[in-house]
C-alpha cells in the first residue's frame, strides 16, 4: 500500500469510528486499535499511540458543547484526575515492559467488558442519599438543574471510586483508550454520581488523562506522524459530524450494531493475543 492510499483508507475508517462512537456514546477509540492492527497490519504500539492522540482530540473538541450543558462538577473531575493521571503514567510505562501479546489479551478483555456494559441497562439512580463525611470534606457534593428545579446529590464511596479511577487511568495509558466503561463503573456505580453529571465530568477528564500518557508515548517514539495524522483528523471529523447531526431515533439499533462490532473485535484480539499472532 502506498502512503497516499494508506492515509486515505485510515482516515475513512477513523471517521467512521469517530462518527459511530459519538452517535452511540460508546467512544470511537476503543475500536481503532483493533481495526488498525487487523486490517492495516499496524504494530499495536503505533496503533495505541495514534489512538491516544485521537482520544485527546475528541475530548477537547467536545468540551465546549459539554460545558454549555452546565452539569459537570469540576471538583469531582480534578480530584479524580489525581488518580487517573497517575494511573495513566503507570500504564504508559508498563506498555514498554509488557509484551505486545499480553497487551492484546488485556485489550481483548477490555473490549468484551465494554460490549457487556453497553448492553446492560444503566444502574438505577438512587436519589436522596445521605452525605458521606469524606465527600463532604472534599466538597464533592453538588447540584444541577433538573426538570423539577434544582437537584442536589451526595457523592458516595470516595475511596472505591478513586481506586477504580486509578485502574481506569492505567488501562487508558496502557491501551490508548478513554476507558469510558470503567469510568461509568467508578462514577455511576460506586460514587453514585447522577448520570448527567458523570457523563459530562468524565468527558472533561478523558482528555487530561490521555495527555498524561501521551507525553510518555511521544518521548518513547510510539507516536508516528504518518499514522497519527489520518487517525486524529478522521476521528475528530467523525465525532464533530456525529454531534452535529440529530439521529436520535436510530441510536438504539446503532448501539446494538456497534456493541456487536466491539464484541467481535474483542474476541479476535483475545485469540491473536493468546496465540501470539500480534
Amino acid at each position: 500500500m502506498t502512503i497516499l492510499t494508506f492515509t486515505v483508507a485510515v482516515a475513512l475508517v477513523a471517521f467512521a469510528a469517530g462518527l459511530l462512537g459519538s452517535l452511540t456514546g460508546l467512544g470511537g477509540g476503543v475500536v481503532l486499535v483493533p481495526l488498525l492492527t487487523f486490517f492495516f497490519h499496524v504494530d499495536i504500539r503505533y496503533a495505541i499511540g495514534a489512538s491516544l492522540v485521537s482520544v485527546i482530540a475528541t475530548s477537547s473538541g467536545a468540551a465546549a458543547a459539554y460545558v454549555k450543558e452546565g452539569f459537570s462538577n469540576i471538583r469531582i473531575g480534578m480530584f479524580l484526575e489525581i488518580a487517573t493521571t497517575m494511573g495513566a503514567l503507570l500504564g504508559a510505562y508498563l506498555s514498554s515492559w509488557i509484551p505486545t501479546a499480553t497487551i492484546a489479551i488485556i485489550f481483548g478483555a477490555m473490549l468484551l467488558y465494554s460490549a457487556y456494559t453497553s448492553r446492560r441497562p444503566r444502574p438505577p439512580e438512587l436519589r436522596n442519599l445521605p452525605p458521606d463525611p469524606l465527600a463532604t470534606r472534599l466538597r464533592l457534593n453538588g447540584s444541577f438543574p433538573d426538570s423539577d428545579g434544582k437537584r442536589t446529590y451526595n457523592v458516595q464511596h470516595v475511596p472505591a471510586g478513586f481506586s477504580l479511577m486509578f485502574v481506569a487511568g492505567t488501562l487508558s495509558g496502557l491501551l490508548g483508550i478513554g476507558s469510558g466503561a470503567l469510568k461509568v463503573l467508578a462514577m455511576d456505580q460506586a460514587m453514585r454520581i447522577p448520570f448527567k453529571v458523570s457523563t459530562t465530568t468524565s468527558n472533561f477528564m478523558i482528555g487530561v488523562t490521555a495527555a498524561a500518557s501521551a507525553g510518555v508515548y511521544l518521548s518513547r517514539g510510539y507516536i508516528d506522524p504518518g499514522l497519527a495524522m489520518p487517525v486524529m483528523l478522521g476521528v475528530l471529523g467523525g465525532s464533530l459530524f456525529g454531534s452535529g447531526i440529530l439521529v436520535k431515533a436510530e441510536t438504539k439499533s446503532l448501539r446494538l450494531i456497534f456493541s456487536m462490532v466491539i464484541l467481535v473485535l474483542g474476541l479476535q484480539m483475545l485469540y491473536n493475543g493468546i496465540w501470539g499472532k500480534i
Partner: protein, 142 residues
C-alpha cells in the same frame, strides 16, 4: 464549577470569586475547542506537505522501529517543523493537541487560587505536575 458547595458544611462559604464559575467554564470550553481546531489545522497543513512529497512511497507500519529523535523530543519536533518537514509539522500539531488539556489544568490552578481554595489548588497542582512530568520529564532520559 457552579453550585458545587451546596452541601451544608462548616467550610461551605468561601469568598465568592471575581467571575462566575459558569462563565469561566464557558471560556475554558472555548479555549479547548480553539486549541483542538488550531492543532488539527497544523496537522492538516503538515499532512498536505507530507503527502505531496511521499504519496507513492510504501507505507510501513508492520514492524515497530520507534520514531527518530526528531519526532520524539520537543526541541527535535520544533526544529523539524521549522525546517518545513511535513511530518515535523504534524508532530508539532500533535504537541499542541497534548498541550491543550494541560493548559486547561493550568487555568484551573489559577481559578482555584483566585478563589482561595487551598485544597483544590494543591489537587490541581498535583495533576499539573504529573502532566508536565510526562511531557517534559519523561523525555529527559533519552
Amino acid at each position: 464549577m457552579a453550585d458545587t458547595q451546596m452541601a451544608p458544611s462548616p467550610d461551605s462559604s468561601p469568598p465568592r470569586r471575581p467571575w462566575g464559575d459558569y462563565r469561566v467554564e464557558i471560556i475554558i470550553g472555548h479555549l479547548l475547542r480553539f486549541g483542538t481546531i488550531l492543532s488539527a489545522t497544523i496537522v492538516f497543513c503538515g499532512a498536505c506537505i507530507y503527502i505531496l512529497r511521499h504519496a507513492h512511497e510504501p507505507a510501513a507500519y508492520r514492524s515497530f522501529r520507534g520514531e527518530p529523535s526528531d519526532f520524539r523530543t520537543i526541541p527535535g519536533i520544533v526544529a523539524s517543523a521549522l525546517h518545513g518537514h511535513g511530518r515535523g509539522w504534524i508532530q508539532f500539531g500533535l504537541l499542541c493537541l497534548i498541550a491543550t488539556p494541560i493548559a486547561r489544568v493550568a487555568f484551573a490552578v489559577i481559578a482555584f487560587a483566585l478563589e482561595r481554595d487551598r485544597l483544590y489548588t494543591v489537587f490541581t497542582l498535583i495533576v499539573l505536575a504529573v502532566l508536565l512530568y510526562s511531557l517534559i520529564g519523561s523525555g529527559l532520559q533519552f
